[in-house]
Symmetry: C2
Subunit: 427 residues, 2 copies
């Protein structure tokens, strides 16, 4: 390591140490802020974003220009772009968070114990949240809003390709916080694209309570490898629809088509269709026609291929695959038990649906399938914070602890025990 590089690494370490120290220092301030103050800050930020539209587009233009020079592909450049509609979208998102109830300070019922103490729980912020994300600069405003509302301090580390846009948005956030009398350090945006900054942040487990990586699988896996901080993460979305023999055929076809092809490239789209052998001949041919019209490529197990002779054979690898595109693998199973075995072995604990008219079968599927969302007679595409009524989501967790599935404001909080006494001591 040359002296210059070493100095650079040292300077970044010092910078990150300063960021985390500042974050910790203001954590009690935002945790104690009342709903009115937090909503006021969000409103000022929204106003500032709309008022800064020209500046935001200028900074964004620099990112786009540099991106084009670096050869970013069109899809990435599209995600990176801030136009008037997207700037309005950020302001609307802030308004939506304002309208959500504040979870902080909510208490459960208190129980009086034989000792005389009263015991309950209070919902409180987590503390300092690190969010690492890619390309789309609107995440800067969305994530900051959810963290402010839930009483948390945020450290935001966006992608290097969006650094100018993110800083322009950061300026709006700081102006809004300041106008409402809150410290700017409640939201800090990392100012260097250097990878060393992420490394240092992920080691700061003494100061950061949770890290949320938002982005592709590569990003998430890198964070898992390097982090000493608890994670809230989304890894794979290998979602299944299982059609039971007693399913309404039209309903089964509608759900299977919607789950796969309402939108491609989303984590809650179906990747594998499981179908009971006794209904397969009734369902698969007309389903295959619909998929063909949507441009979906099918891959099947041997039995499926005997019903649909024109499709390719699915390999063992296909059952594990999150295609994130217009491909679907289909397997014929003997019944519920084999369907659940398949989901446990190949699935990713994200979202799984059964189509059935038998309530006992539905209950067994609901209880025994170990996924963050388990559904009966509904499309997997509903697994979404907005559809669930959470208002907005920071992401969808495929972890089992703390928060599973779409994570909204409540997932950014935790509960502590509250004990009320009148001089009680333990005998």
């Amino acid at each position: 390591m040359s002296v210059a590089v070493k100095d650079q690494a040292g300077a970044i370490e010092n910078y990150i140490a300063d960021v985390t120290r500042r974050a910790e220092r203001v954590s009690r301030e935002i945790a104690a802020a009342n709903s009115e103050t937090k909503n006021q800050a969000l409103l000022y930020i929204a106003e500032q974003i709309l008022a800064s539209s020209t500046t935001l587009k200028q900074h964004n233009a620099r990112d786009l220009e540099e991106g084009r020079k670096r050869g970013l592909d069109d899809a990435l450049l599209d995600r990176l772009e801030l136009n008037d509609a997207r700037i309005q979208g950020m302001a609307d998102g802030l308004q939506q968070v304002i309208s959500l109830p504040d979870p902080v300070g909510e208490t459960t019922a208190f129980a009086t114990r034989p000792s005389g103490i009263k015991v309950g729980k209070m919902r409180v912020p987590i503390g300092v949240i690190l969010i690492i994300y890619e390309s789309r600069p609107n995440v800067t405003a969305d994530a900051a809003a959810l963290c402010i509302k839930s009483g948390n301090v945020t450290i935001l580390r966006g992608g290097s390709e969006a650094i100018h846009s993110n800083h322009a948005i950061s300026d709006c956030i700081h102006a809004g916080l300041d106008k409402s009398g809150l410290s700017k350090d409640i939201v800090q945006v990392i100012n260097t694209p250097d990878r060393q900054a992420v490394k240092s942040l992920l080691q700061a487990d003494a100061h950061i309570d949770i890290v949320i990586p938002r982005g592709g699988k590569g990003l998430v896996e890198r964070v898992i490898q390097e982090s000493r901080i608890p994670l809230l993460k989304h890894l794979d979305g290998v979602c299944h629809v299982y059609i039971q023999e007693d399913a309404d055929v039209n309903m089964a076809i509608d759900i299977a088509v919607n789950a796969k092809s309402q939108r491609f490239g989303v984590c809650n789209a179906m990747e594998t269709l499981l179908i009971n052998g006794s209904i397969a001949k009734q369902v698969l041919p007309s389903l295959a026609d619909k998929y063909e019209s949507k441009g979906v490529e099918l891959r099947g197990c041997p039995q499926t291929c005997s019903i649909l002779p024109n499709i390719a054979r699915a390999s063992e690898q296909d059952w594990y695959q999150e295609y994130l595109g217009p491909i679907l693998s289909i397997r014929i199973v003997e019944g519920l038990s084999q369907a659940m075995d398949h989901i446990q072995k190949y699935g990713s604990h994200h979202t799984d649906t059964i189509v059935t008219s038998n309530d006992a079968i539905a209950q067994k599927f609901l209880r025994e399938v170990d996924s963050s969302s388990v559904m009966v007679n509904a499309s997997t595409r509903f697994a979404d914070g907005f559809e669930y009524g959470l208002g907005a989501e920071i992401g969808i967790s495929t972890d089992k602890l703390h928060a599973r599935g779409p994570v909204g404001l409540e997932g950014l909080t935790t509960q502590k025990f509250i004990v009320l006494g009148d001089g009680n001591i333990r005998e």
Copy 2:
């Protein structure tokens, strides 16, 4: 590494791979078991433990003998010992878990969304739980009981000093599971004292959902370093009592004495007393007399030492210290804000109490102190699963995510989203 040692390491790796594979294979079985079956198993285990009293004491005698040869100290040998009272205690513990309500399958209220889907949450087991613990063999029965009741598979790794006792208890657990028709693999006790086994277990993040280290700080820190699995852990218990100027003097003295000296060496004992300067002269002299009669050594800030001239000065290090013994540090503060600053800087987010007659002050303390238990006018010693009505606890968590404070059956479960539709698709 010699060939023999390498072979040994390889054999242990294979053994652990087999253990985790077996654990995963039975996770759906115990998750789906109904309350009656689980309670029946716990009853059979309790009966088997009582019926095996002679065998348990024989195996325990081997551990005690080997422990004496290895020079274990008296306190450790005492914790290791199984006598009739402790064997009865294990059986009673199992009965107590039987009497607790089963959290698995509980659902929240369902909300109907504009799309027509009904969304709620269901409480479900976590999956496979690894528990690593030291010396006291009764943990084997207690931890297994809580995990069975909450529908989880357990892998238990006790201390090498208790290996014969733990295996004799494991035989009772297996007999009880078997008699109730459940697989023995639902509870597996690791059969080797080799450290490599722990290493391999802590790398098995693909098969184990959570690890709970129960033991001294050394054990917990070792697990933090080596684990790639999410942890539920108890680190430090630097608990505070803050006496506000308006506190009832007698109540303050009672609580301060109880919090420090009702029992030494427990995590929820007070380690630092904070007291408002304007009430210090009224409280400290008589409090010091009481502590003297209990054999508690006091260490004070300069102001405290001017009121209690015979005590030693507390060093900066004292404020961070979990004494786990008859030592208390005392600091005089200007008011609530300085007390909360002290708790944030030096505390461990475990349990903190305020003694005050002012409701607004109490509310501010309750809301803003970021600890797993925050109390008003009650001794810190109440921070305990039994006192809180959880029935039994697997431990006290000082983590912020998932479960904070005493962790009972609910903390061994998680919630998934349930969606009920009647053919709903996303537009």
